[in-house]
Chain length 173, copies 2
DNA sequence: CACAATCAGTTGTTGCGTCAACCAATGCGG
DNA sequence: CCGCATTGGTTGACGCAACAACTGATTGTG
């Protein structure tokens, strides 16, 4: 029963409360927009984007799960739903018959190409355009410090959803 | 099909990817620790803390829902479970017979008093202690700017979970 | 005072994520 | 070449959140 807990200072508490509020509200806002405009959850969108940016537009289930911070069962369920909608296809990996490869279909590419502008707009109006250039850099540093502990292997740091050059779609057709 | 979408710059994309990773991983980490050590989700913990800090340790369901960013149905389900565990009690409001008041019980106070140190420790080791004092201030500002849009009424800004002076528990019994 | 509209809260249904169990394939030690 | 642990992936069951529908109380309006 060590009573040596370091309680939070006023400043710490205030920042923490806001961070928690952010983590509650932001995912909701992203899901709401994507679901309304494209029928996709933010997670599904991220998975499709990851596939779209992969070589051959194909990725092993395990790697995709790692990149999207999903458990394998979760990804399996999601992949089944996406496959039923014709947005991805799954087929056994030729070199390792345990493994499964997932590929985004043309319909999937079309969908995210159609969804990307609205999503980027949501990202801008809800977050990025509300911050100064300096604050965006600070956010990068702060989130990086925290992720060094929460995600030491930088699994999520890699692809996730790249917007820099557009949806990475359109070409490669 | 307006092609005037402003795609994200390299810096914006990097910061965004990290923010998303944070919103994915942090709630999970908080839930995991609280669930393991106290059998509470982070949401349940927040709700109990809100009640503990309220006058008379009592709050209207609607207000509690607003403070915790819950829909009323969600809070109703959670409250039923917490009541079954003896952590809160519900009784009709005497002045408005539509309304229901929720009160945290002694058992509930004991539980959060027991859970608070571990939770605060998690908050410190996973976030606050990884940041400089300056960065904590920056985080406060950044989150504030975003919340001004996501939570314009500052519903969550208020109580949520106060740690500044300890769990606000312990006495008033 | 009657009646409509609104508010507070609960309940049932659906969908998604987690966990545990399971099957198939690989690789490794003998 | 035969066990046997490990890896890759799927499936089913359970828990929680969102949504819709519903009850009961209150307010507003004529």
């Amino acid at each position: 029963m060590s009573s040596d807990t370091r309680w939070l200072s006023t400043e710490e508490s205030a920042a923490w409360v806001r961070l928690i509020a952010l983590t509650e509200l932001l995912p909701n806002a992203l899901d709401a927009q994507l679901l309304r405009d494209a029928g996709l959850t933010h997670f599904e969108y991220g998975a499709l984007m990851a596939l779209a940016g992969a070589p051959e537009r194909t990725m092993r289930m395990t790697e995709l799960a790692s990149r999207t911070n999903a458990t394998l069962p979760r990804l399996s369920h999601v992949a089944r739903r996406l496959e039923e909608r014709g947005l991805i296809e799954r087929f056994p990996c030729p070199t390792d018959r345990r493994a499964t490869n997932a590929t985004i279909t043309e319909a999937g590419l079309d969908l995210i190409a159609h969804a990307a502008p609205g999503h980027v707009d949501t990202v801008r109006t809800n977050v990025l355009d509300l911050l100064t250039e300096e604050q965006i850099g600070q956010l990068y540093q702060i989130a990086g410090a925290v992720l060094a502990r929460l995600d030491p292997d930088e699994r999520l740091a890699a692809t996730s959803c790249q917007f820099s050059e557009g949806p990475a779609v359109a070409r490669a057709g």
